[in-house]
């Protein structure tokens, strides 16, 4: 079954036509990379998948996006429920001004979980999944701001994983990090694939080719090409894709 199925998606910021007729199908437990030059609409598309663009005034979407077969833009959909299913990691680490533990527990608490043993188990599990456990196990009650940027980003990943989403959206999760942290995050994405479907925006070509199964190339609001990653990087159909991945522009 398709976990994400976007059909004929058009999106507008007021008058600006930011996405033009996007069609993407994503299978379960795959990593999808979205690449393309700055301003081409990658983040915009990603934020459509958990309806984050609802927060911006004057936006409009046509077409449909199905997650696990349900149209997430149907009128009776509860956005908070959707976001529990489709988690998100942002470009810059954005931990809450709370302890490390409470950062990860947050999603569980707003979900109405009050069972402290369950919360504790889940928090530890999530931090372990985010490959952060060894570094923070002694300071779970310290402020999240005491961590390095790379650690903070992995904490944000742990936070997203804690509520057991089906899909994890990542918007350039390593762009603000040093090479070592970046490598750790890439490794982590590879691990997470077993349990989650991941859609990752990146403008790092090597990263896309290393971590993803399928790659979509966006250009000026259009999805120029969407195919297996190996194919995109070795034998792209479109001239524009080839130009971009060989670094002739972007």
């Amino acid at each position: 079954m398709l976990i994400i199925d976007a059909k004929n998606v058009d999106f507008y910021y007021s008058d600006f036509h930011a996405l033009k007729n996007i069609n993407i199908e994503v299978e379960k437990n795959k990593v999808i990379a979205l690449i393309g030059p700055s301003g081409c609409g990658k983040s915009t598309f990603l934020r459509l998948l958990n309806r984050m663009n609802d927060l911006i005034d004057g936006t409009r979407m046509t077409g449909s996006i199905l997650v696990e077969g349900e149209n997430i833009y149907a009128p009776n959909v509860r956005v908070d429920e959707l976001r529990k299913k489709v988690g998100m990691v942002f470009q810059k680490p954005n931990p809450f001004p709370k302890t490390i533990f409470e950062n990860v527990a947050y999603g569980l608490r707003v979900n109405g979980n009050t069972d402290n043993t369950f919360i504790e188990e889940r928090v530890i599990e999530s931090i372990k999944s985010a490959a952060l456990w060894d570094e923070v196990k002694d300071k779970l009650n310290k402020s999240a701001f005491a961590l390095s940027g790379g650690q903070q980003q992995r904490l944000c990943i742990a936070r997203a994983l804690a509520i057991s989403p089906k899909v994890v959206l990542m918007d350039e999760p390593a762009s603000a990090l040093d090479p070592i942290s970046t490598a750790k995050i890439e490794e982590l994405i590879y691990e997470l694939k077993k349990d989650y479907t991941i859609v990752i925006v990146t403008h790092n070509m090597q990263q896309a080719s290393r971590v993803s199964d399928k790659t979509g190339y966006f250009y000026l609001g259009e999805l120029v090409e969407f195919d297996d990653t190996t194919k995109i990087f070795t034998n792209p159909k479109e001239y524009s894709t080839q130009n971009y991945i060989t670094g002739r522009f972007g």
């Binding site: 958990n50 984050m52 908070d80 976001r83 988690g87 954005n94 608490r109």
Partner: protein, 394 residues
Amino acid sequence: MKRFLEKFVEGALLISGSVTSITILLIIIFLFKEATGLFNSPVVEEGYVLAMNKSNPVKKLNSYQIKHIFDADITNWDEVGGKEEPIEVVRLSDLTNYYTEEELGADFENIPAKASELTASRPGIILFLPEQYIAKNFDGTLLSKETMQPGDFFGGTEWYPTASPSPQYGLLPLLLGTLWVSLGAILLSLPFGIAVSVYLAEIASMRIRNILKPLVELLAGIPSVVYGFFGLVVIVPFLQETFKLPVGETALAGSIVLGIMALPTIITVAEDAMRTVPRAIKEASLALGATHWQTIYRVIIPYSKSGITSAAVLGIGRAIGETMAVLMVTGNAAVIPHTLLEPVRTIPATIAAELGEAPVGSGHYEALFALGCILFLITLVISISIEFIGRKKY
């Protein structure tokens, strides 16, 4: 030439800066200098003396004791540290009970001698006389050099500056009145102010916000007499009706009026704090499936805690120093309040109401300055704590 001009401007700025600082400093020094005069002012009404029998072991009385002796609340010397001996209070007019008018003389020329004689003959006497009737060789203990003690002011439970023979300058009723009214004001306005600022910062659409925000700020510009007048004709009768009070002018009325006056400050400061919550953190919360309300009370309010605290403290600051409106609605009874439904009197209201009638340099006048110092110290503590809160960030 240009260099010279720059130096000149620099110098002018330096001078105006120092002049301002020095002026402020001088005002503070003046305030405290006048205030300390209180502790050199006599316990006994100016121009009068108190006299007691020489055998009486009590050689000192504070103003509180004197007042209660003359009010006949204290009737025995053992209550003020003396022997068991009934107190016999004698005022100038009472001398006719002991002596005939002939004995006192047609022009009262014998009063000094008779006063001395009376004091010497009656062990329990306390005599209250104008200074001029005290003979050179007066036979008794004179209480003329006694001055007000810090305890009379800081620990005094009565404010009665025109009491005779010993005026009462007790700080406590006024201080408590001020604190009660201000505390009540903040308890009323803080929840409401935070609710409004949450609404403005998070819920209201841009259009509504653009109408409401200036309206709230307009509230801050209304003169306080107008608030006082509003309180007097609306809130005071309302309270009197609802609580079936003998008078509606109560601490609660003051709190309500001050609460309304503090709202604009609280709303503006708290709303600004909430708007500084980074978008990234709000999005993080929403992306984890939190609803808008959960985001407000789990992320936005905790994140703007220090801003909200400054709002509260600024609101209190406004309330504590406010004079006019409070003067109009609190009933101005200088008694220690037990509930919010009693009349109280605040420090600023006291100063405003009494400074005009206190003779310059008198104990009363100096006591009002001492009140001013207390008010100054309270607001100083408040502004220091704002600094402190403002600096404390995550």
